[in-house]
Structures are given as C-alpha cells and as structure tokens.
C-alpha cells in the first residue's frame, strides 16, 4: 500500500518536460517534491501565478505572495503574476497540461465529488469546479477506501458532484486506474496489494486485463 508521499511520487512520474501543472491542496501539493530529474515543469496556482517556487525560508515569508492554499510561497525565475480572470482563462483554454486534485468520490464515468458533504458546513468549491470543467488532463490523488472501509471508486457519486466525465486517471494507495468508457481500468497495483483487495475496494465497474504490473515507487 502506498503512503501519501508515494501516491504523489507515482503521479510525479506522469510529468513531462515543459508541462504547466496545477496542483490542488493535500496529496497533490506533495507532487512538487518528486519532480523527476531532467524534467522541467512550471507550477500554476489559480490565485494568479505561474512559476511557483518552494516555501520561503523562515523570516522571508511575504504576505503578498501566497498560493491558492493561502500558503506563503516564492517565485522562481521566469515566474509571472496575473489576475484571477486570466488565471482561470488559461485553465479554461486548456493551456494547463495537467491538473492534480484530491477527491471524496470518483465515478466509473469520470465524475468527481470533492466539495460538499450534506449535513456538514459547506465551505465552497473554490476553483475546483472551474478546474474539473476545463482541464484536459486531470489525475485524482485519493485514498481508495474511506474510514468506514467503503470504496470511493463508485458506479455513481453519492455526494454532490463537482464535475461530470472529467477524470482520466486515479492514483490511490492501492493502484493506478485509467477511467475509460469501460470503467476503472486497473493499470498498476501497489507493492504488497492483492488483486482481491483491489476488487473489494472498488465499488464501480473494474476492468482487469492481462498481467497487471506492480507500481515502481
């Protein structure tokens, strides 16, 4: 089974040189720590920066320089600042190559729910609805099973959805899945995880064909 950091590391292997990437809050943020050698990517944060750098050294935090998670950040050489309309404009226009998001539920048709739990205080969707409606290439980083032991890879989302038919790939503690018209296609399995556990942990339509390689992390 993968740790959160290993999920991030596996997703980082999807990065290609020259990619513009938007990383959501949570596990997605960790992806920045595992960018492969020789691969240059530019991180976008939807509050208005391209070329986001690591957190500043202590004492060098600048209140005017934060990311969408309101964390203090830095600028790398070649970074650009812009307003929120242009930020979502470039997302909507498909100029961001990869978006990595967390999710509460993903359906076998690629729907995602990650903004609202009925009965709990609703904090809002922030930029999530724009991202899932606009990005060409979205990978979800999530735990496959909730605390009650129930699968979060579902035939249909039970929670209010954030976007329809938009998720292409899911990486969980158990495996890597492509979402196709056939459902969740298992592409890789995490070290030490059995196919039986994958089956138990996937409520939506699961496709397992041929030998499934073990993830390299």
């Amino acid at each position: 089974m993968l740790t959160k950091n290993q999920i991030a590391q596996r997703i980082a292997a999807e990065l290609k040189d020259g990619y513009y990437v938007n990383l959501g809050i949570g596990i997605p943020t960790l992806v920045a720590n595992y960018i492969p050698n020789g691969i240059n990517v530019v991180l976008q944060s939807e509050n208005g920066i391209l070329g986001m750098g690591p957190f500043p050294f202590e004492g060098e935090e600048d209140p005017d320089l934060i990311n969408a998670g309101k964390q203090t950040i830095t600028k790398l050489p070649g970074s650009v600042i812009f307003d929120s309309a242009m930020s979502f404009g470039m997302i909507r226009a498909g100029r961001v190559d990869l978006t990595v998001l967390g999710a509460m539920e993903v359906s076998e048709t690629g729907d995602i729910a990650n903004w609202k739990i009925p009965g709990k205080m609703v904090k809002g969707m922030g930029g999530a609805m724009d991202l899932v409606a606009s990005a060409k290439n979205i990978i979800v980083a999530m735990q496959q099973v909730n605390k009650a032991g129930e699968s979060k890879l579902l035939p249909k989302c039970s929670l209010p959805i954030t976007g329809l038919n938009c998720i292409k790939k899911v990486v969980t503690e158990l495996g890597v899945y492509d979402i196709t018209e056939r459902g969740f296609e298992l592409k890789e399995v995490a070290p030490g995880v059995t196919i039986d556990l994958i089956k138990q942990s996937t409520a939506g339509r699961l496709v397992i064909e041929g030998d499934i390689p073990t993830m390299i992390v």
């Binding site: 957190f55 307003d83 929120s84």
Partner: protein, 232 residues
C-alpha cells in the same frame, strides 16, 4: 478631476445600508484593510458582499460579520471562520457560493461591458440549477451574468492621483477585476504618487476605472498560512 480622498472614512462616505459591494483580495492577501475598518466604524448594515473569501474571525470581512453588517455573502470559499458558520447555520446570513473562475469572469464581464459570459464550470452540478445551459461544439456551458455592484473596493500597492493602479505579486488576484466592475470604484494604496511616476506600460488598472483613491495606513497584511522551508 480630483479623485484623491484623505482617508477611508471620506472615500466611503456615501456607502449606505443594503448596498452591494465588491471587495478585492484572496484569503487575507491583498484585502482593502483600511476600507473594511471604515465600514465597521461606519456601521452600515444589510450589505451584500462579493469577495472570493470571507476573511477570518478577527480579520478581513470577518470583522464585518462580527458586527452583523453582512446580509449576504457571495464567495467561492468561506472556510476558516467560526462566526460565519454560526450565522449561516442560524439563518442570519445568506450565502451564495460560486466557482472561483466564474466569480472572476463575472467581474471582468462587468468591466468590459459584456452582459454575460459562458463558462463550463458547474455544468451538471448544483451550481447549474436554474441556469441556462448551452452547447458549443461538443461541450456544455453555463450562462453567467456580469455583476452589478454599487461599489468596488480594492487594494493596490501603488496608485497615482489619476487612479492608475499597480499591484504587488499575488495580492493582485481579484483586485484589478473588481476595480473594473463597480459602479463606483474606490482604491486604497500603500503608496500614492504623482501622474507619470508609474510607467504607462506597466499599469494594471487604468485610472478610468477608478473613481476615488486614498493612501491607506497601518497595513497589517496578516499571513493566513505561514509555510516555510528549513534553512539548509
């Protein structure tokens, strides 16, 4: 042409109860601190505030929630605020949550004289309820209307007496968009300079959009989420 006001109290003198106000900023970054303090002091009630967030309990728009001046909040994300949650659950406060890109683009539409825009954000979700859906190519879009607000209040880094504004780093965020979107736009700035001191090629908000400007004082610029890298 005199756009310069002495302070927030004077610049905001004609804001009255039940108005709709756009407020710049993202989280606590780039918020019009002096204007919020002036609104609290002024005590206007029943406001509809449009801003990406609602501040925290003791800073930003949160201060106007403590004094129960806000009737309705239009935002994309309103976490980190206990008083907000209490008022929402008790029914004292009305909230409309809209996708962040939609919020930004509805401001831009107002500033560019476009009555409405199409965006795919929210298609198939609760956000689409009651809205017109239209297909262009192989994709569905929602029709979303330009904001129509009485005032826009923004915070810039530098401004000149003609109302031209420049923002600093990600404190830009919604500020230039909201500056274009108010019937009357008020800008508070850290530095107020003479015309010609800002380079014409690098002004973010042209003064034509700004009706009033004043030099703010005592910026706290609170950091919401201080994250650092250990020194090597």
């Amino acid at each position: 042409m005199n756009k310069v006001y002495k302070n927030a109290d004077e610049a905001l003198h004609d804001i009255t109860d039940n108005m709709t106000i756009l407020l710049g900023g993202f989280g606590l970054c780039g918020i019009p601190e002096n204007s919020i303090t002036a609104l609290v002091k002024k005590g206007v009630k029943g406001l509809t505030c449009i801003s990406n967030n609602a501040g925290v309990d003791d800073f930003g728009i949160g201060l106007m929630l403590q004094t129960r001046q806000v009737k309705k909040m239009i935002a994309s994300y309103v976490g980190e605020n206990a008083e907000f949650e209490r008022q929402l659950l008790s029914g004292e406060l009305d909230v409309e949550l809209i996708p962040q890109g939609t919020l930004a683009t509805r401001c831009m539409a107002a500033g560019y004289g476009m009555p409405a825009i199409y965006t795919p954000a929210g298609v198939g979700t609760e956000v689409a309820e009651g809205k017109e859906v239209r297909r262009f190519g192989d994709k569905d879009y929602l029709l979303e209307y330009a904001f129509d607000a009485d005032f826009a209040i923004v915070k810039a880094w530098k401004g000149d007496t003609m109302g031209n504004l420049v923002y600093r780093d990600t404190a830009r965020n919604f500020n230039p968009l909201m500056a274009m979107a108010g019937k009357i736009t008020i800008a508070e700035v850290e530095e107020l300079v003479e015309p010609g001191e800002l380079d014409a090629n690098f002004i973010h908000t042209p003064g034509i959009y700004v009706n009033r400007i004043f030099k703010g004082a005592n910026y706290e610029k609170r950091i919401e989420n201080r994250t650092t890298t250990p020194r090597p």
